[in-house]
């Protein structure tokens, strides 16, 4: 530890250790989430899900990962090679950066930036660029359609997301995530602003391209959307990025609405993870309940319903803050 501190400075050492921890978390999280998704979807459909590999299919994800590693990496003939190879990397990086500011517990935070929330939302928009790169460089019209739709969807849903977050920031008065968590020691913001919470969950589901907003990867419509042409481990990275993005977005939701790591009996980390996985369970629940929205319905929903409701909520919050 001392050698690290000598070479990198206290901050740098903290970041390196944090990076290693984050990578471990990402791997374990993906492992767990993929298994959870299959089990949740199975039980909603009255079937058992994976049962063979390990206790109740717990090792199924590892088996799938091994299978994906063994697959041939195909690059389409006229694909833009550099862009094609960069896209999976670029979709993954913003997610890793967002982990910098997430407060897992009062002490477990890699860097307590005073613009924490801003950092997360700034970087999450980069993943839209990566989707566009993936779709365009695949030299495949279906991928391009998937990419275009995804960009339109992400832009449309970014706005109500930010408006909702603004109403919370107004209440707290700071972008720093630890401040937001500290402000909820009494009452969770989800109870103070239920409309904002609902709006946030809907927009979060849309931002991560999850059903019912999963037109970009519409499994039954566009083959696999923007990642049609990716095989083997490259596809696995897109998959990994999606599940990690779900974690990030749920972590932000937990911090903003569900009181972060506050909780009575267990250690704070446990509470934080419980709340994160609760929101993730909500997202999985949505997937197997609602039919997929058609693309124009998706955009209409964002512009005509979510943004007005978000703005009304923001105005109401501002009014209450002014009066109280």
């Amino acid at each position: 530890m001392d050698i690290l501190t000598f070479f990198l400075g206290a901050d740098g050492a903290r970041m390196l250790v944090g990076l290693i921890g984050v990578i471990a978390l990402v791997a374990v999280n993906a492992l767990f989430l993929i298994w959870l998704e299959r089990k949740v979807s199975a039980h909603i459909q009255l079937r058992p899900g994976p049962m063979e590999v390990g206790w109740h299919g717990a090792l199924q994800t590892i088996a799938d990962a091994l299978k994906l590693i063994g697959k041939e990496l195909i690059t389409p003939e006229d694909a833009d090679k550099i862009v094609y190879l960069l896209a999976p990397i670029i979709i993954f990086l913003p997610v890793l950066v967002s982990f910098l500011v997430i407060p897992f517990s009062p002490t477990l935070i890699i860097k307590d930036l005073n613009v924490g929330i801003l950092l997360i939302f700034a970087f999450s928009t980069l993943s839209v660029l990566a989707i566009l790169m993936a779709g365009w460089s695949s030299n495949n019209k279906y991928s391009v359609f998937g990419a275009f739709r995804s960009v339109a969807q992400n832009i449309a849903y970014e706005i109500p997301l930010l408006i909702t977050v603004m109403s919370i920031i107004l209440m707290v008065g700071s972008f720093r995530l630890t401040d937001i968590v500290a402000a909820q020691s009494g009452l969770w913001f989800a109870l103070l602003q239920p409309v904002a919470f609902i709006l946030f969950v809907i927009c979060a589901t849309a931002e991560t391209n999850r059903a019912p907003f999963d037109i970009p990867e519409a499994e039954s419509e566009l083959v696999a959307g923007f990642h049609t042409e990716y095989s083997g481990m490259r596809f696995a990275i897109f998959f990994l990025a999606e599940y990690t993005n779900m974690f990030i977005v749920s972590a932000v939701g937990t911090v903003l609405f569900l009181g972060g790591w506050h909780g009575p009996f267990f250690p704070p980390v446990v509470w934080f993870l419980l709340k994160v996985y609760f929101i993730i369970f909500l997202m999985m629940w949505f997937r197997w309940t609602f039919p997929r929205l058609r693309f124009d319905q998706l955009i209409t929903f964002a512009w005509k319903v979510l943004i007005p409701v978000g703005i009304v909520n923001l105005l109401a919050t501002a009014l209450v803050i002014k009066l109280v």
Binding site: H43, I44, W285, F286, T289, F290, V305, V309
Partner: protein, 178 residues
Amino acid sequence: MVAFVKEVLEGFWSLIAGLGVTIRYFVKPIVTVQYPRQKLTMSPRYRGHTEFVIDPETGTHRCIACEMCSRTCPSSLITLTGVKVKGTKSKRATSYVIDYSLCSLCGLCVEVCPTSALKFSEEYRLSGYSRQEMVIDILERLQSQQRTLGLAVEVPPVAEPESEPGKPEKPGKEEASA
């Protein structure tokens, strides 16, 4: 304006109702029967391949080797042999083999049997690596069933020795009539 708000609220309520439906399904027990660790019981009318009926009085099969079943089978998959039993007027089967890979479970053999010797079994656990494994010896199946039930195991009767060639048959002898 009011219509818009009403539509949003109604739509939102329908979403919640949908979520309620799925969460109710989530907590219900699964309906999958996880074969081979759990097995299904077939209904009495299930049509597996044919097998011999075990007659409650004699404890063995009733087949008289009349060959009506093999003649009526549209796929000609039944092969059976029989001999006349010494001391009685009737014949008895000595071997009964079906090629199940051709069987369409039409049930004509069961229907046409004059002694109702055949019935459908409840056998569904059939798998093999070759077509030859689909050839089922029904008599052998009966024998193993008798062993399981503790009944006397059927011994196929042997053929009567043929009369010496050249010697004319005496009239009145019990020869197999038509």
